[in-house]
């Protein structure tokens, strides 16, 4: 009898704290998390970037006794792997560093496979819209890029609707949006802004837009016209950058690419530049998020790592953020200064995607572009 009582008391000691713990952990400072994390011993992270190797080194130096295991794989593979593992009842990964947020939102967050966590240390320094439903660490871009050597007077395009005109026929490039999520998100965002697209149409052509009966709004009409104007699809951004950016080109095309690829201009002989002065917007900003897997085996270490990856209080963000601090990408933490050579976040004329809204609208746009091919 006594033995059984002892047992259940012991069990309660083990179970109760774990139930209460998650909530507690969320409000702990790094100093409070550290001893718990050291007891856990390690933390496993899936990362979209192989720069996680640099984080590993810095993290283990900052917090000895917590071993960081970083596996780099694409967002799609992270999602597939997490889903499969949890279906098998395996809980092996703690932290996901992942993009493709519309899919993350519908497949992982809504299915309760991940939980959102905002480190209290930096919570006050992050805009509310970046704290939920998923915590954004930084923003990347898919925006209109042009060749600054061939067009020294600035962007040859000032209104998206110009891209549907004969002078740009066969001269607009894009990584196939039916192959890559970010580009699908870009077109979805355009479809989600019918009013701005209609206004831009009027500004360009001086008349109201007539939208086809089977389409919803000016954004979808733009997508249709863009495809009809021989939009050229390419398999990856490497091909796109080479085509748009080639510094020796006479009459190069423009394309929807990544602003931060501009940092390779010198190395690759490119002349990539962002077309910022574009009506109604030049593209999208999309988040890379940090999130914790449901039933993560190392909950304290997971929180410690996410806290660490928001950097220290210096303008560069220190060892925890610096590997990701490239010109053309933007930290969400306001204490981290943006690169002096790049357009400031507030001045970049790009729409910021909302994972939930994009997730809801993306299927329709995906179907539309399949019929347009």
């Amino acid at each position: 009898m006594l033995k059984r009582l002892m047992k259940s008391a012991l069990a309660a000691c083990v179970v109760l704290p774990t139930a209460a713990m998650a909530a507690d952990l969320d409000s702990m400072t790094p100093e409070q998390l550290l001893p718990l994390a050291q007891k856990e011993g390690s933390v496993t992270v899936f990362s979209l970037s192989s720069r996680i190797a640099k984080i590993e080194k810095a993290f283990e130096e900052a917090y000895p006794g917590v071993d960081l295991i970083g596996l780099d794989m694409s967002s799609t593979k992270q999602i597939a792997r997490l889903e499969a593992e949890q279906q098998a009842g395996v809980h092996a990964v703690d932290v996901l560093y992942i993009a493709d947020t519309p899919v993350v939102f519908s497949k992982l967050l809504e299915a309760k496979r991940i939980v959102n966590y905002v480190p209290p240390r930096v919570a006050a320094q992050i805009d509310d819209r970046y704290k939920g439903p998923l915590l954004t660490q930084r923003l990347s871009t898919k925006v209109l890029m042009y060749n600054e050597k061939a067009f020294p007077g600035g962007s040859p395009v000032t209104n998206l609707w110009q891209l549907t005109q004969p002078e740009w026929q066969g001269k607009v490039l894009m990584v196939d949006p039916s192959q890559r999520g970010e580009l699908l998100d870009l077109l979805t965002e355009i479809a989600l802004h019918p009013d701005e697209m209609a206004a831009a149409y009027k500004a360009q052509f001086g008349k109201d837009i007539a939208v086809d009966a089977d389409l919803q709004g000016a954004g979808e009409q733009f997508i249709k016209d863009l495809f009809a104007n021989d939009l050229i699809l390419v398999p990856n951004s490497d091909v796109l950058n080479k085509s748009v950016g080639d510094a020796t080109a006479k009459n190069p095309p423009v394309g929807f690419g990544t602003y931060s690829d501009r940092r390779d201009n010198e190395k690759e002989g490119w002349a990539l530049q962002v077309a910022n002065n574009v009506e109604p917007a030049n593209g999208i900003l999309f988040p890379a998020v940090l999130t914790i897997a449901e039933k993560a085996p190392h909950p304290a270490a997971a929180r410690l790592l996410i806290d660490f990856m928001f950097g220290d209080d210096t303008p560069t963000g220190g060892a925890g953020f610096e590997p990701f601090n490239v010109p053309g990408d933007y930290a969400t933490r306001t204490t981290i200064a943006h690169h002096p050579d790049s357009v400031k976040l507030g001045e970049l004329k790009a729409w910021t995607i909302d994972p939930a809204k994009t997730a809801a609208a993306r299927g329709r746009v995906s179907d539309l572009i399949i019929t347009l091919q």
Partner: protein
């Protein structure tokens, strides 16, 4: 077979001898390894979302662009590439194995190389030569030199088919050469004594004898072409040519997995239909037995005046399909700018010290501390998977050949073909979900090397089974039956008779598996949990950060590993089959 089983003495042994146990075990293994993941994928398309996907793919305004047009492109590619590979690979195999063409070893080596070079390298090589102004950027060699290249030659079906033939013909070569080497001199000499002219011997004796190998080669190259992603993506997308593989990749990449799985299942069904037809063709005819145990010397035809011209043709094919892509790869691991492959070469990406201006201070690959580890891991994984796959494949091929024409053989051979067409990401995810949890007394396999090996063996099974079948089909039953009469058990027969006789075909298959394993990323990255990576993961890391030169250097390292493995296999097989030297 029946003759033997009536002689078998007691009940238990009789059961064993009647060959009931092995097929039963094999059926069970195939059910677990192939059918279970497939069923899981099928089930995931029977949810409400999945039913919607079936509708969207087959009966909706999307069907034309989502299924029918990609299907058409895929089939054109599949058949075009398979025929091209048979012609090119068959020609080369005939030349190397059955004639006195000069430089046979060199030609044989060049024939095996293209498959070891990733297909994207061949596609890049094509672009370096034929790229036109459609994409802007720097034009290819021909346009730079004033020769306008039309869109159909620069982009779309034609270049994709040519590039895929250049990549996959070596697969056909390996399988056909293995089969041809077992065409004994006695057969040919008998024909000659009967006064048959050379064409008659070729079409009347040699061709019929190697038909199973031709079918095997055709099915594998067909499947390879149909499943290939890199070439149609690089050369097809700019003119909006989609194949089922690019569609499938896109669907999974944009989170529409159900549609992707539906496409995969339909592709499997269509391919299975064609395989079934080709199977009927083979089993409809008599099997010709050429490995009789009575001296297997190979007879070489004198080519006479044609020796050097044919040699020149073969060398040209070899140069175009191996040297050009390797050159492009090598150049792109040496050139600082990917737009100017042949200028400012530096060894920095191989041995550079790092910390400088080049490549954001990244050191060369040979200074990367994980490289040696990765090479070792890669070799270990490749060897283990090649071994397990070949063992399983041999057993399967043996059963299929022994029971040619039976329902069991048909089902087994169909199932053994399927894994090649299942997208690796779906295959790997199914394995985690199926074997991640403990099953009964068996522990969870999650994160173990074993799970990776099991999944990889299943995924590469088609190579082993197809190459095994084509050779086993030629081995005479009487050798085995004599052994059986003297009381040799199945294992003894396998290792003492079948294995040495079929070794060339088996090694051909093992090399294909090894190469596929060493290069394939999707399967590995989903099942690997250790932090010490394999080479393909290291290459991916570099590529993902935009360091293509490093990635290409790693690809060359992979090529060297594959080549070394192939030399090793070649040496081994010559030691085992000493009687072949004439």
């Amino acid at each position: 077979m029946t003759f033997i089983s009536t002689f078998a003495p007691s009940g238990g042994r009789r059961l064993l001898r009647s060959g009931f146990v092995m097929p039963a075990i094999l059926v069970a293994i195939v059910a677990i390894l192939v059918v279970a993941p497939l069923v899981r994928i099928l089930l995931s398309t029977l949810t409400p979302a999945g039913i919607g996907a079936w509708q969207a793919v087959l009966f909706s305004p999307l069907s034309f662009n989502l299924w029918w047009r990609p299907l058409f492109n895929t089939m054109v590619l599949g058949f075009g590439v398979a025929s091209g590979c048979l012609i090119l690979g068959g020609f080369l195999a005939w030349l190397v194995v059955l004639t006195d063409v000069p430089g046979r070893r060199l030609l044989g080596l060049m024939g095996t190389l293209p498959y070891m070079i990733p297909s994207f390298a061949a596609a890049l090589a094509w672009g370096t030569l034929f790229r036109n102004s459609r994409l802007g950027g720097s034009a290819g060699f021909f346009e730079t030199n004033g020769l306008a290249i039309p869109d159909w030659l620069a982009w779309g079906l034609v270049p994709t088919a040519i590039v895929l033939i250049a990549h996959y013909y070596s697969l056909a070569y390996a399988i056909i050469a293995a089969a041809l080497s077992s065409v004994g001199a006695d057969l040919v000499e008998a024909g000659q004594m009967a006064g048959a002219k050379r064409p008659r011997i070729f079409f009347g004796i040699i061709l019929p004898v190697v038909t199973p190998a031709l079918i095997a080669a055709a099915s594998l190259t067909f499947a390879g072409a149909v499943a290939n992603f890199a070439a149609p993506a690089l050369l097809g997308l700019p003119v909006r040519m989609q194949t089922l593989s690019t569609r499938l990749f896109g669907m999974i990449e944009t989170g529409q997995n159900e549609r992707g799985f539906v496409l995969a299942l339909l592709l499997i069904a269509v391919s299975a239909l064609f395989l079934w037809i080709s199977d009927r063709i083979v089993s409809g005819r008599k099997a010709f037995i050429t490995v009789t145990g009575k001296g297997g010397r190979t007879k070489r035809f004198p080519l006479g005046a044609w020796r050097w011209p044919l040699f020149a043709v073969a060398v040209l094919v070899g140069l175009l399909t191996t040297v050009t892509p390797v050159l492009v790869l090598a150049a792109s691991s040496l050139a600082p700018q990917s737009g100017a492959l042949f200028s400012n070469w530096t060894l920095h990406f191989w041995i550079g010290e790092g910390g400088g201006e080049i490549a954001q201070g990244q050191a060369g690959i040979f200074r990367n501390p994980v490289l040696i580890d990765a090479i070792w891991n890669t070799i270990r994984l490749g060897l283990v998977v090649a071994l397990t796959t070949m063992l399983l494949g041999l057993a399967l091929a043996y059963t299929i050949v022994q029971r040619r024409g039976s329902l069991l053989a048909t089902i087994l051979s169909q199932l053994a073909f399927v894994p090649l067409l299942v997208p690796s990401i779906a295959f790997a995810a199914a394995y985690i979900a199926l074997f991640g949890a403990p099953i009964g007394p068996l522990p969870s396999l999650y994160g173990t090397f074993a799970l990776l090996v099991i999944a990889a063996s299943a995924h590469n099974l088609p190579f082993a089974v197809q190459s095994g079948r084509s050779v086993l089909g030629q081995i005479s039953a009487d050798i085995e039956e004599s052994a059986r009469l003297t009381g040799a058990g199945l294992l003894r027969r396998l290792f003492a008779i079948i294995f040495p006789l079929a070794i060339r075909g088996l090694f051909a298959g093992a090399i294909l598996v090894f190469v596929k394993m060493v290069r394939d990323l999707s399967l590995v990255v989903l099942l690997f949990t250790a932090t010490s990576p394999v080479l393909s993961m290291v290459a991916y890391r570099y590529a993902a950060e935009g360091f293509m030169q490093f990635a290409n250097a790693i690809t060359l390292v992979i090529l060297i590993v594959c080549l070394a493995a192939s030399f090793l296999a070649h040496g081994l097989q010559n030691r085992v089959q000493k009687w072949k030297e004439s």
